[in-house]
Symmetry: C2
Subunit: 156 residues, 2 copies
């Protein structure tokens, strides 16, 4: 049986973990709360209450979390409030595709570095060549693996 305390500890834990991913503690807390609350969706105001945070902080952080696609806003006709819930149309595959995009930046950096070198055959150039080779491979391979997930899901 889970207690209120277990849950608030969980919310803080989520805050700290998401902080390591470069998001704010508060953004993580919002997600954490949505993961353990029994309500399917919670209002903006409830977030300020439960997380003891200002409206401005909740505002900026729900926006950030919405952009990552982890949560989504829900509006109800005849109700002015905005509610938030775990985004059921989150695509985990899509999230990983974004990672691949990051890898492309790194690869581009290595390529650019190599181009700036005078001697394309020295040790550092070889180092860069190897980096580029690996990134080329992984950038191609990653999406293939993710395709397998879609197949795996279809056959269930």
């Amino acid at each position: 049986m889970s207690t209120i305390n277990d849950r608030s500890a969980y919310i803080e834990e989520t805050g700290l973990l998401f902080e390591t991913f470069g998001m704010t503690r508060m953004a993580g807390r919002i997600l954490g709360y949505l993961m353990v609350t029994d309500k399917e969706m919670v209002s903006f105001d409830e977030l300020t209450q439960v997380l003891q945070a200002s409206k401005s902080s909740i505002s900026t952080n729900v926006k950030a979390m919405t952009q990552t696609k982890f949560i989504k806003p829900v509006t109800i006709p005849g109700d002015r409030k905005t509610y938030y819930m775990l985004s059921d149309d989150i695509s985990w595959v899509e999230l990983f595709h974004q990672r691949t995009e990051q890898l492309k930046y790194l690869k581009a950096l290595y390529k650019k570095g190599l181009n700036l070198r005078s001697n394309k055959k020295d040790k550092s150039s070889v180092w860069l060549e190897n980096a580029i080779e690996f990134y080329d491979w992984i950038i191609e391979e990653f999406p293939e693996v993710l395709k397998k997930w879609d197949l795996y899901k279809k056959n269930k």
Copy 2:
């Protein structure tokens, strides 16, 4: 033909990119310089000169970059100085394995969240189930893909 300016712009660019990965600008600059300098290895002192930074900043940041395995220190008998170079024994595969470890933390968080829920069948629980399922799959699949890289390299 690459100019001095192209290279210093590159060093700054590397600093900024590595900043987005949660490292310091200076750590990125050190790597950036090693990627474009014509020297195979550079001394600690040269780093302070070229990057216009204090010894303490260089000291902490070469340590950080060494820990990520991107660079390594080189010492020469009869020479008191420490030199740094791109680490030729960097394992790109190993770097990606570390990513997989991070995924395990996230998966553990989702599992813990699910355990804290009263109703294991509601929408949020299903969301968590899906997250866990995907992470389970990717945590298994990732290392397999990386094994393929080792094979690919051997057959060349």
